[in-house]
Symmetry: C2
Subunit: 228 residues, 2 copies
């Protein structure tokens, strides 16, 4: 049971500004109006606006220069993967590309995990896989699936793969209710995922890569198109 999301004024304002930017209403290179004017226009204080700006600056959508103003960055060219949640919220046509990368990188991770997993990590994978089968709601199955993928990333012995896995999940987990298709039946979800874990346990990199690709392709299809 998760706490209900609560929106602050800064959240609302950030969302508004973000949508305006992503919708192209402020082209890359253009300056936004001065903070004082913008805050007045939105009916908030400048401090509140600066907090929203701070988020967009950190996300790479804006850059501010002391004494000059706040400019829209060429985020399409220069932006990082942390932008993905924002981009997905703006336009769902990002899903196809995210899933392609998820498939490619996920297969790579499974292959590395097969080569490097410790006995303890193999055991953890088994347990987390079991948790998929015993989870009691579709949402819980989905989140249990995520934990298996995190464990796979950890089993690569490369922490950057863990962070990358989280980043890809962060792209769509906020809207995961719309992508819950593959997780409505715990037994089916478990059966789809089990070959990946088995190949990693067997230390078979090729099999792990193939199994991960098959798994991610199948779940992606269900998520994008609906059940077969």
């Amino acid at each position: 049971m998760e706490a209900l999301p609560r929106e602050t004024v800064v959240d609302v304002l950030e969302g508004r500004l973000r949508e305006d930017i992503l919708a192209g209403r402020h082209p890359a290179g253009s300056y936004l109006p001065p903070e004082r004017r913008l805050a007045d226009g939105y009916g908030v204080t400048r401090t509140t606006l600066k907090h929203a700006f701070g988020r967009l600056v950190q996300a790479g959508l804006l850059e501010t220069r002391h004494g000059v103003g706040t400019r829209v960055r060429d985020f399409a060219r220069l932006g990082g993967a942390d932008l993905l949640p924002m981009l997905v919220r703006h336009s769902p046509d990002w899903f196809g590309e995210i899933f392609e990368v998820r498939r490619d990188v996920g297969a790579l991770i499974a292959e590395r995990a097969a080569a490097r997993a410790t006995r303890a990590q193999q055991g953890e994978l088994r347990e987390l896989l079991d948790a998929v089968r015993t989870a009691e709601s579709a949402d819980a199955v989905q989140l249990a699936d995520v934990e298996v993928h995190r464990a796979l990333a950890r089993a690569t012995g490369n922490r950057v793969y863990v962070l990358l896995t989280n980043t890809l999940f962060n792209a769509y987990l906020p809207v995961r209710a719309a992508l819950v298709g593959p997780f409505t039946e715990p037994a089916a979800a478990h059966a789809r995922l089990a070959p990946v874990v088995a190949a990693v346990e067997a230390g078979d990199g090729d099999a792990a890569r193939r199994a991960a690709e098959a798994y991610l392709t199948a779940t992606e299809r269900i998520m994008l198109d609906g059940p077969a």
Copy 2:
């Protein structure tokens, strides 16, 4: 010629807080002192502290709950790739892992680019490769190299690969002066990179993957160990 970096109070404070967190002085799950106390302790206003907090919250190091307090997140487990610049700054032993992922993902990107690059993209790659040879400082060569990689990512036709490429570069470009070894001779840098672009132009995915791996392995070795 780049503007000199300028540090604000928020920058300094964010860095201090970040170091304390990454150094484990506030373990995951623990609450930081209340904002008012912390601001007093650091000799800044609460507004300034809140800005620094905002950055760390967005980076996934902290989470704040209205009325409750600000807690350190289990960022090692849940954090995303946008944490990489912070992590590198804290501890250079991340470089090895970043470069491994850079190699794996870079090879994948080159393979996809070979399959999908348009004629216009191939032309752009050629031009950007030329810019590596004609750049006038090691720093400029290095940044020109980055532009080639961005163009490769664009040539995959998958925008998420562009963002991912930026994220990996964002991890170490702020400290790129320490990694400038492969870029001190424009002609040598160009010669190392040319086979990647050639394979992409030839539409040969296997060759592109192998060339990218060789390129990234060679440059990584120079960056980590020094010239051969």
